[in-house]
Subunit: 519 residues, 2 copies
């Protein structure tokens, strides 16, 4: 105990030093998850909230959700739900009672306790892009399958940027690692390259158990310490419409029983896997999420659960998914209202349909990130690095997105809108009068260096200055920055003993064959 | 009278037909200015509103604003203000009494009455970029001085896009036309290439009077008809800190006396022409605007006035102006609160510091456009086509911005968030159940073609489809679209007699030497 506490303190101290050294490439804002001070944008009136709630409840009461998981069916039968084959129907009293047991806020403490995140309330947390099978960067210039080096580089960005608060799923799938052992290698990379809160894919019991064990080892924790409070989380998607698959539920039950956090994110694409009307898609999404959360609360009352939304729409012409659309924004806002109605923390995403990090990528991503703000989202998944509807991860896009995330962090600082006498600055205005300017006066000089957001990627030079500096467009500037950050990256400190224990665990589990790959 | 009414009806009908023909290049949303259904984002509490108001009033009472305009000084002396040299101080009672006379909403009726705009309330109106001296497009590939052809092309875009509701200032300065006659040629182009509400620069009495006369002729209006209600507007900037120059005030007084609308937009760059603190910059901006509005209301009670904001911040490193920053967003929101406090319609802008239409351009512009939404802005200046802090106009940026403007238009349609039984769609969800999908069902088929926003520029194809189509980044797609729109552009109809009268007016005024160019 004393040992691990010491280790933590030293780790934190050295992490701070590494962050300061890393700051040589860019000047970035400090780690400080934004508190969302804006009143949420609420497209629904009270009647609308009630209508969507009633819709979600009637879906659960009258239509039911399929659970392709025998254990879950047994538990839900015991809980009094109506089971027919895999279809489960449950009454709203049961759902609301169970959902009421979930905490409205909780913490996840990663191996570096300085990176502890609080999920819920008005806190906004940003995570890296997760799970694209493909990778694109300006140097390669085309879409290619992800590999371990790409994954490691994106993990370095995840660690480097203070505005990234949690390490979500794999930032790109390293398909050069066999699926049976991929989770071992990537978790080793994640746990050694980052010290932020992380995630296990619910893809079979071996993977989930391995990842929990590795997070425990990396944290220098006993089993009891690990289980005493959340150290990690999983995120599952339902298989819309109205299905939960075996491994997802299995993984969640395993995490729930060990006190870890669960995010349930249905992917209800309006017009495809959900009604073409956004309220219907939202109601279905809520039903799919709430029945799973009810199950987890029944198994382990009070286990931290987050309700996720991934409701968007398809392209009317092709049926392809679209992201960051007006309909996406409104459904995210509606889900925010409903999450507050249920008292659950909420997850949404930073998303786009664009294939390269250009103008479209940024307006779609801006739309989705501002929707996250407007909806009161707590966890913003895929907040940096996502392209092509989640099929591509890009380091340039990652860095461009971080500029936006930092701006949201700055936007949420209440001092921008402070209105005390020092801010109204009547004396300064009087001193300058009808002539002159504010550049040199004391009121300006005292505040100048911290008064305004300072970008790291945006180029605010005039055209001539920009041209003289090479006339470089944003994506290319981001590419150069990517190379510099990777080139000078220093991993957060980890005790040698812990690193060895992790490596030994990986070796042992590899020698045992890793996880089955029956898919 | 009958003649002009007939002309209008025919004009409108033909404009509709032209719009339909023009729709061959892209499918765009119809002309339908958005109604902002969102509750504004309000960073100030009541105390903050009072503090900024008090600051603005004390600036006017204790410090004063310089009016470099003898006529204005005479009027304000008569009104009881305290004049010392050019410095004018005025009491808050006078300011508030005068400002109270301004209407909270009004209309501007251009030559095509179908393009009448209502300014105020919850209506959002978008205008083209105005006044950049330079032009950039992908084909030219560098910043060049604007010319008449570039100006005409941007006017064609202004007319073409239904999401552009008013034709602001010159979309680029045609510096190949001598300044003495530039207003005559450009207004001829504006009035013949567009039929939307337009603007006169307040740059000397000849220009203002010429433009009013040309708008009157183009509308087929008698003097009395022209003066009976707003047919156009001017926009002036104060010379911050705390100065109003002669031609700006002169132009406004001329428009006010003929019943035309006035937008007053101080340009208070925090840390340069205004305090480094945003509340101080906003208070100063309000003071500069309100004293001018008070003057115009004293001269012509009830004349439509709009309060504009152009409060942003400088780059801490270079002193260069920055746009679309977090500080810009908050000051725009604060100004929105104050505009509602004063009961005045509000103007803000779509702005960025980026030099080319890339990712940075779009996140900065997105920030500023969402700030316009959040602030309850009524007139969004520079909503399409602005680069380099307003020093460059770009057709690619214009088209990219229009995609964002259309998305805001769609975002504001309340039906997205409708929650009736048809939208909750329980029967559809029941019919699909735990298996299948929603593509083919009747509920989807009935709504499919109008359920979702349909972009004209965003490419929602997957990477392979996008690559097969040439792998074209957004700015280049916009460039091709620009060429197509210009190539097939059809001007809105205008009676030959009106066109001849306009041309004759231009010729006559040119032969008289146009306007003096003593600058």
């Amino acid at each position: 105990m004393a040992d691990s506490a010491t280790r933590r303190r030293r780790g934190g101290g050295r992490a701070g030093a590494a962050a300061r050294r890393g700051a040589a490439v860019i000047e970035q804002m400090p780690w400080n998850p934004p508190i969302n001070i804006d009143r949420p944008t609420e497209p629904l009136d009270q009647e609308g909230v009630e209508a969507i709630h009633d819709g979600a409840m009637r879906i659960l009461e009258e239509i039911g959700v399929a659970f392709y998981n025998e254990e879950a069916l047994g538990i839900l039968r015991e809980a009094g739900c109506t089971i027919e084959g895999e279809n489960v129907r449950m009454g709203r009293d049961f759902v609301m009672e169970m959902v009421g047991k979930a905490p409205s806020r909780f913490t996840i403490t990663p191996r570096n306790p300085e990176r502890t995140i609080e999920i819920g309330g008005k806190t906004m947390l940003f995570g890296n892009v997760s799970s694209p099978p493909n990778y694109w960067d300006l140097e390669i210039g085309k879409k290619v399958p992800g590999n371990r080096e790409m994954c490691r580089n994106l993990l370095k960005l995840t660690q480097y940027f203070n505005c990234i608060h949690f390490a979500g799923g794999y930032p790109v799938e390293p398909v050069d690692i066999h699926a049976s052992i991929r989770h071992l290698d990537v978790l080793y990379d994640k746990l050694t390259l980052t010290d932020k809160a992380m995630h296990a894919y619910s893809l079979g019991k071996e993977r989930v158990e391995d990842v929990m064990e590795m997070v425990r080892i990396a944290g220098g924790l006993s089993r009891e310490e690990f289980e005493a409070s959340p150290r990690m989380y999983t995120n599952i998607n339902s298989t819309s419409p109205l299905k939960h698959d075996h491994p997802m539920i299995d993984g969640c039950l395993r995490l729930a029983r060990r006190g870890q956090a669960i995010v349930v994110t249905p992917f209800t694409l309006a017009g495809a896997m959900a009604p073409v009307t956004m309220a219907g898609a939202v109601a279905q999404s809520l039903a799919e999420a709430l029945c799973a959360i009810a199950l987890f609360q029944y198994v382990r009352p009070g286990i931290p659960c987050v309700i996720g939304t991934f409701t968007s729409n398809v392209d009317m012409k092709s049926g392809a998914p679209a992201f960051g659309t007006p309909e996406y924004m409104r459904s995210t806002q509606m889900t925010g209202q409903m999450a507050r109605f249920y008292g659950l923390p909420m997850r949404s995403s930073g998303v786009c349909a664009a294939n390269v990090p250009d103008g479209q990528a940024m307006w779609e991503t801006s739309n989705s990130l501002w929707a996250a703000v407007q909806s009161g989202t707590n966890m913003v998944y895929h907040a940096a690095g996502w392209l092509e509807g989640g099929l591509i991860a890009s380091p340039e896009k990652f860095i461009m997105d971080c500029e936006l995330l930092q701006q949201i962090q700055r936007y949420m600082q209440p001092e921008i809108s402070a209105t005390g006498p020092d801010e109204i600055a009547l004396d300064a205005i009087r001193a300058v009068g009808n002539d002159g300017h504010f550049f040199g006066i004391e009121h300006t000089q005292k505040r100048y260096s911290t008064a305004f957001y300072q970008p790291f990627l945006s180029d605010w030079k005039n055209y001539e200055g920009w041209e003289a500096a090479g006339g470089i467009w944003t994506a290319e500037r981001a590419h150069h920055m990517f190379k510099e950050i990777i080139g000078s990256f220093e991993a957060p400190p980890m005790d040698d003993a812990v690193r060895e224990e992790l490596a030994e665990f990986v070796e042992r589990r590899k020698s045992e064959g890793g996880a089955p790959t029956d898919f």
